[in-house]
Symmetry: C2
Subunit: 165 residues, 2 copies
DNA sequence: TATTGTTATACTCTATAACTATA
DNA sequence: TATAGTTATAGAGTATAACAATA
């Protein structure tokens, strides 16, 4: 018997009943990824006026909050591979948002600083991102926000075993 | 005076003090992304023996749980763009895990099914992923898991506005 | 006219190997 | 010998435009 869809169409085929994704929805990884993508989709238009992509904003923020930080440390903090940071920093430097200075004490390294313009752009972008994150994107209470962030942090910080990279 | 790091090195330069990432860590998007990447890093080696990537596992799972589903519906469920699903399905088909059949009622579409082998591989992979997710990767209690997933789901499902794609 | 599946293509993101200069 | 920064490059992943067949 082909017995397919006399009156009970293979739910998959109907436009009405959404497909069963219950297993995937039981996974933290799946939900975390979907949530991250949803939030990033909201943050993107916020950063667009500043001509910043998400990673660029992250790097700019870390440099602004840690004057004199090295490339290597930015990579470690944000889990970026060194070769991929090079072009990113070059763009920020060309736009006059970041500058490199000689590192005191290690001539291999270089200290990173935001310029006055870079600091201004970062501040504006940070305020805009914070607003979107807390208000529009997620209608969670402050307590729920705190709970969520604490749980997420336990996942990617909690265990001793290193990441794959 | 070069006055650098006699005893108080510019925290950025020292290998000891970790850089300040407090702002980024206050963002749900940042934490969700880091958590998702950390979990995926754990899941990858679990799927490797089955020669499945994460997206392939997701697609295989949705097809297994929704026999007769169409490409378009898989795309909608997993937020995959149709052109990107084509090659993915082709690989799964060539490996004998998935098969396409004529769709009853719409000759444009095609119904997707897992083969016996596909069902077996999917089951094994699902068990392995579930084990990693609940045990090793995240040491959360069942209650914490449930809370986390509920909060995450509210972020990417809760609001009416569609995603960017 | 709209939709399904598809091709071709481009752009971003991420990853690896290897080089240089310093330590 | 190891590390910081860099180059070149490869591979995922994700995006858009356009087409044929069907609704």
């Amino acid at each position: 018997m082909r017995g397919v869809n006399a009156r009970c169409p293979p739910r998959a085929a109907s436009g009405a009943a959404p497909p069963d994704t219950s297993f995937l929805e039981s996974l933290i990884g799946y939900n975390a990824r979907r949530a991250a993508l949803a939030i990033i989709a909201r943050v993107l238009p916020t950063l667009q006026p500043h001509d910043l992509r998400v990673v660029e904003f992250s790097v700019l923020t870390v440099i602004a909050h840690n004057p004199g930080i090295t490339s290597r440390q930015v990579c470690a903090a944000l889990d970026i591979l060194p070769p991929n940071l090079v072009g990113l920093l070059r763009r920020l430097e060309r736009r006059g948002l970041v500058e490199k200075r000689a590192h005191p004490g290690d001539r291999r390294a270089q200290s990173l600083y935001v310029t006055a313009l870079g600091a201004q752009v970062q501040r504006q972008a940070q305020d805009a991102v914070a607003a979107v994150e807390t208000d529009e994107a997620t209608h969670l209470s402050a307590a729920e926000r705190a709970t969520l962030i604490a749980l997420l942090r336990r996942i990617y910080q909690g265990n001793g075993a290193g990441t794959t990279r």
